[in-house]
Amino acid sequence: RAPVTDQHVMEWVGGVIQHSCSSPLTLLLHFSELLDDILREKPQEADGIDSVVVVDNVPQVGPERLEKLKNVIHKIFSKFGKITTEFYPDADGMTKGYIFLEYASPTQALEAVKNADGYKLDKQHTFRVNLFTDFDKYMNISDEWEAPAKQPFKDFGNMRHWIEDPDCRDQYSVIYEAGERTAIFSNDAKEPITVEERARWTETYVRWSPKGTYLATFHQRGIALWGGEKFKQIQRFSHQGVSLIDFSPCERYVVTFSPLMDTKEDPQAIIIWDILTGQKKRGFHCESSAHWPIFKWSHDGKFFARMTPDTLSIYETPSMGLLDKKSLKITGIKDFSWSPGDNIIAFWVPEDKDIPARVTLMQMPSRQEIRVRNLFNVVDCKLHWQRNGDYLCVKVDRTPKGTQGVVTNFEIFRMREKQVPVDVVEMKESIIAFAWEPNGSKFAVLHGESPRINASFYHVKNNGKIELIKMFDKQQANSIFWSPQGQFMVLAGLRSMNGALAFVDTSDCTMMNIAEHYMASDVEWDPTGRYVVTSVSWWSHKVDNAYWLWTFQGRLLQKNNKDRFCQLLWRPRPPTLLSTEQIKMIKKDLKKYSKIFEQKDRLSQSKASKDLVDKRRAMMEDYRRYREEALKIYQEQKSIRLELRGGVGTDELDSNVDDWEEETIEFFINEEIIPIGDL
């Protein structure tokens, strides 16, 4: 905004007195009183001051060009309303470079500010337009800068406390009792250890932040973040009716969406918050939340972007402003995504007349196009990044010329190689699922049509070839779940396929185990890749709600039934603090560490057995004691029982042998026909 000085005000007032006009302004007579009034009082509707705007950066002209200037100004500014008064202060024969315009109403003045501020008249003159009343507001800011009051330090304790568990147990959240209760458990192979359990902690569901630091809960008024050893409330964000959230990968920002709060002047559908300060950084409109998250973050949290028709808007943090102050115009853009390893965006546009469809890789922030790939006869494309950004797979559905059917190709972009070469894998059947090995160079595909569904494993080799390692046919699977550490994976037939599970080791493509969790709706790997949880959520199936814990090899460890179990989410781990060298050293000495852990495991196993045995012994003693008491009373009542049944003893089955009747029953066992030779 233009710099504010008393000079502006005094000029204006002086000018008004000189100017003869029948507007309300002329009611102000005395200079000093006027000054005081204006500087002291808050502007009111009746004063008419709200209808005045100040325009800065107006060309300074002499009297010969003044008429022309006035015409130009009039042309531009009468678009917003009726100009009732205009004043062009001058000095030494030239206009000063700022002017005052009065409109017929305050709303018109507002329109002028909104639309003309920033108007580029010519190369040297860009108008700055302000409401006169804003000067008043800004001039009333005290000259003395008051330091903000010191907030008491909120100690949340060690926010990474769970990582320090001596037995390296990971945590997971469980929502059950149809959402009434939420609990946090520590994963012990024997049985879950309750860390925290609260009623009505969340109103719908929960989310962990990407590095596991915060647990987010949903409420009618907004979301809350919890963390630290005791899960205290760290921060609260007010967003009425919030339904969806997304975290930036660096955990600095959280994005909330509510379908309720959106007005034209104040975009409130999507809000981006700074987690540490709790401040609202920026609000955005949102037409539809169909593809959440609407804003996609770069891996380092430096940028976030969204797609609107024909436009890709990229914003930078922490300013929250558009990168280079403008969006990218990309006609027909259908989809985009960030590389999870670098600040590269991949996007694709469909065919346009004679221009083929194409996939583009663009470097940010330079906007340099690293790679463009033309595709022909495209029906649809899907972008699949490998988790480290080493590869991009574009699944292309095409209708080749002269045919009716749709075929699928996988275009594999090798991101780490010079000029990003692209290899193509042609698939003969329709694709059900695709997934990259998280930190490797393999990918798995489920293809075909029920009941003939096949699982194929491919390896992207360094020599430019993509090799089909193995194909398993007739699989009961509709989803692929790789271990976050790679190599192992689970092929699952969820929901309608009744929970069929196959545990695969992709180092030699063998099936380690085939099992079933009837009606399983979800599969979740723990962050270390040691355990898998399969679960039947009450949200999809009303009975048998439980979560089962398996080892990565498919050995079932626990069955945990929970009344109306809804959702289990593992708490993510922050990236390791070890360097690659340190990890190498540990792997070298693994045998040494294994010995120590095995011993520890054996001790805890025998302790568990001992605990169980002790518990059982105690229960049996209690039970025996109770039975002895009951039996004593029973014996004492024997005479009463005899009396009740007319002297007939019925305490034992053989109490009354004399009364027994012997009955012989014949029943048919077998029939055998033996031919007796020819007689």
């Binding site: 009744n498 009837y518 009606m519 199936h541 009303k542 009975v543 048998d544 709600n545 439980a546 039934n561 009344d563 057995s609 169980l612 045995v613 059982r616 012994r617 229960m619 049996m620 209690d622 039970y623 025996r624 109770y626 009951a630 039996l631 009373i633 029973y634 009542q637 009463i640 029982r641 009740l644 049944r645 007939v648 019925t650 305490d651 089955l653 029953i665 029943f667």
Partner: protein, 270 residues
């Protein structure tokens, strides 16, 4: 054994265990030899589903309760019958009932999970227990009547002392429990159950997979399951000698199982 057109609602052994009575929603009451499953006879006369059956201590009379709002007392041998009692409905309806050890009170389970002791003389409530959170489906006593087990829709069965109504043990499953029984000779209980017909929304591929579950009475731990029914199990009962048990199911079948020797030797490590 197949002898009913519709789902079995209850089965009962007589005191000596040589006979097994079964009743079902098809209004029919059957009696079988428990040794070989041969049907002895049928009692016809009810006009509604028969929900419960019991015979007296010397197997002279059989008592049945039915949805036609009547109780019928039958002479065991002659299949003769006279309507005995018509019972009107009321709130918190009683879903199951057994006699106390000396006939001085009746223990009843209600639709809302309550268990009450009613004096047999005055009808007033002597003791109350609210341990279950949903409907009581079945109550069965131990052979000496000192304790009883209640089976509930809340997925558990609980063991109580008959006289004090003290809650002694709980056995947890993940399905509604329709029936439970106490072994006469071992520290075991057997439970049968399954989801309600209304709640089965998908075609189950688990044909024949409804199981009877055996729990250790003192440790509250499950140690065995028996498959075989094609639908939920509605009733279970131990033979009075404890060497076999029976189950009646929604599929209309009554199954009699004799335990193999390992069952009697089995022990959980303690």
């Amino acid at each position: 054994m197949f002898g009913h057109e519709r789902s079995i609602t209850q089965i009962k052994y007589n005191r000596e265990g040589d006979l097994l009575f079964s009743v079902a929603k098809d209004t029919v009451t059957n009696v079988w030899y428990s040794v070989n499953g041969e049907r002895l006879g049928t009692y016809n006369g009810h006009t509604g589903a028969v929900w419960c059956v019991d015979c007296d201590w010397d197997t002279k009379n059989v008592l049945t309760g039915s949805a036609d709002n009547s109780c019928r007392l039958w002479d065991c041998e002659t299949e003769d019958n006279q309507p005995y009692l018509t019972v009107p409905c009321s709130d918190h309806k009683i879903t199951s009932a057994v006699w106390g050890p000396l006939g001085e009170f009746v223990i009843a389970g209600h639709e809302n999970g309550e268990i009450n002791q009613f004096s047999a003389k005055s009808g007033e409530i002597l003791k109350k227990a609210k341990e279950h959170t949903k409907q009581i489906n079945d109550i069965q006593t131990s052979v000496d009547l000192t304790m009883f087990i209640s089976a509930s829709k809340d997925n558990t069965a609980k063991l109580f002392d008959s006289t004090s109504l003290d809650h002694i043990k709980t056995f947890k499953t993940e399905r509604p429990v329709n029936s439970a029984a106490i072994s006469p000779i071992m520290d075991h209980v057997v439970m049968g159950g399954g989801q309600e017909a209304m709640e089965v929304t998908t075609t189950s591929t688990r044909i024949g997979k409804f199981e009877a579950r055996f729990f250790h009475a003192a440790y509250e731990e499950e140690f065995g399951r028996v498959k075989g029914h094609f639908g939920p199990i509605n009733c279970v009962a131990f033979h009075p000698d404890g060497k076999s048990y029976s189950s009646g199911g929604e599929d209309g079948y009554v199954r009699i199982h004799y335990f193999d020797p390992q069952y009697f030797d089995f022990e959980l490590e303690a």
